[in-house]
């Protein structure tokens, strides 16, 4: 079974009187455990495609399914549940909850899943340890560097044991050292937990590290290369 199936998906945004074709009949299949980078210039449709795969937005035409579940048959509540249990997100600008500590940010997902307090504390700390943030459990996002915040975001996306991680330009705000380190962490998670990773990226380092590189141009897939 494909982890992700995108069939003939189109998405048009309206900006004032102007209609912009963000995606134009895109079709794509991603298998479980793949480490996929979607590359392309700004405006090529990478983020739109990730948002649609994550159920954060709905396509104008076409079909999307994740782990065999077709989005068009799902309510917004079902989609929220799917995101909570099967999809993890890593965003370009980290997007941690500023009033929570690193540990609480990671724990929050588990709380949404109804995991008990003791277990979620253990799992949150173990995941922070895995991403190299031992001893930084009580730091608020403002007390962490950009690289550390992004690691918390990765820990948050992985702690609920999702099958798919969608990462929107995760290294864009990081320097090369932090970017490489984060990429290494995600690669390990992919190999260790067989989690499917789909990135959108401009970063040559991410493209290099990916096992499959999809290139997009003007809302369509221009290339699909398995390494």
């Amino acid at each position: 079974m494909n982890a992700v199936t995108v069939s003939d998906v189109s998405k048009i945004y309206t900006q004032g009187d102007v209609k912009v074709m963000a995606l134009n009949k895109v079709s794509l299949k991603v298998d479980a455990g793949e480490f996929v980078a979607i590359a392309g210039p700004s405006g090529s449709g990478k983020t739109t495609l990730l948002n649609l795969i994550g159920g954060l937005d709905s396509p104008d035409t076409g079909h999307i399914s994740v782990n065999g579940k077709a989005f068009e048959k799902m309510s917004s509540g079902d989609l929220a549940e799917l995101r909570l249990t099967q999809i993890g997100f890593v965003f370009q600008s980290y997007n941690l909850i500023p009033v929570f500590t690193a540990e609480e940010n990671v724990e929050y997902i588990l709380q949404l899943q109804g995991v008990g307090k003791k277990e979620r504390k253990q799992r949150a700390r173990a995941m922070l340890d895995d991403v190299g943030l031992e001893g930084k459990y009580d730091r608020k996002p403002s007390q962490l560097s950009g690289g550390q915040q992004q690691r918390v975001a990765v820990a948050r996306s992985l702690v609920s044991n999702p099958t798919i991680i969608l990462a929107d330009e995760p290294t864009a705000n990081l320097d090369s050292v932090n970017g490489e380190s984060l990429l290494q962490t995600m690669r390990e998670m992919n190999e260790k937990h067989n989690v499917t990773f789909i990135f959108s990226t401009h970063d040559a380092m991410v493209m290099e590290a990916s096992k499959r590189l999809i290139t997009m141009k003007d809302g369509a897939i221009a290339g699909d290369q398995v390494k």
Partner: protein, 407 residues
Amino acid sequence: MNDLKLAWRNIWRHTRRSILTMMAIGFASLLLVFMLSFQFGSYESMIDASVKLSTGHLQVQAAGYNEKPEMRKVVPNPGVVMDILSRTPGIEAFTARSQTFVLASSEDRTRGIMVMGVNPETEKGVLSIATLIREGEYLSPRAPNTVIIGTLLARRLKIGVGRELTILGQSRNGSIAATVVTVGGIFKTGIDEVDRSTVQMLLSDFDALFAMDGAVHAIVATARELLQVGEVKKALQNDPGLKDLAVLDWVDLSPGLKQSIQLDLVSGIIMYLILIIVVAFSIMNTFLMAVFERTREFGVMMAIGTTPRRLVKVMLMESMFMTGMGLLFGMLAGAALTQYFAQVGIPMGGAADLMAQYGISGRIFPRLSWATLLIGPAMIGVVTFLTALVPALRIPGLKPADAMKAV
């Protein structure tokens, strides 16, 4: 970690803004607690004045007498009524009274007046005219055929203490009632109508003069507390010994007083509503800002699986925390301020001296009660909750992808 913690911490993201919002709620509550207590305190003073100078808290009369006072409408056995009053809890004092309209003549002039028969011993416990004698002395059983008259009446009749007054009227049985009495004292209540047209005499003299045969027109009573009046009235109305008589309270006896209180209350309520609306805008501003500022964060939270309903819940918790703390502050400070002025009173300015003459304090004492403590803050609580609901309900309409694009 839970939603409560998230809501609590969110409040302190903008400490200054949150404190200002809470203070707006707090000061509005403080004002409402104090103003309502002040209003109720002033109503008590007004009622107290009316009760002390005229009606008492309660009266037992013949049925229909209050609507159309007639000489023949009497309480035939006042002793029985007074027995019942003496064993009714909450009654402080009572006295029997009769009254009728007569012609009163001095050497030079004649006026139509009301003559009232009172028992000076028991009357002192109910009314304060005994303390308002400006010249001469109050009535005494040792001085029969003596009357006290109002200052304005004395001036009109050109009469003073020790002079004679001829009274001509109709007795209960329809015969002519006429007598000559001596003016023993002159009183001034400050209420022109009373001072212009009232003469008081001993109830025994009234009884003999108007052939009352032991009957009276009213038993006037005061309750220990104004708030007990309703309860006492109900108890008396249910007493089988009074079933043929009318039990009236100060509202029945002085409907104008109740209307003026209602009018004042309505104007007060309008002012309070304006105050609450101002506070509502303040809290709506805070929450609209919070929703706008955190739209991106809401998008992220929805993206990671938080349901919009849960986000609305957190927002409403924030509103309740802020409102609750503001209300608590306002209620405590309002109660403290009210209690302080309840002890020392608030001078009534120019009216104070006038009031003091009649045995009524020239200060208004705010009256703190559960009602004055809770009504205002409860209204603010409900309005602010509804106000916070408006921006919070924008959240379910957000699309995660769009929300995350917000700056």
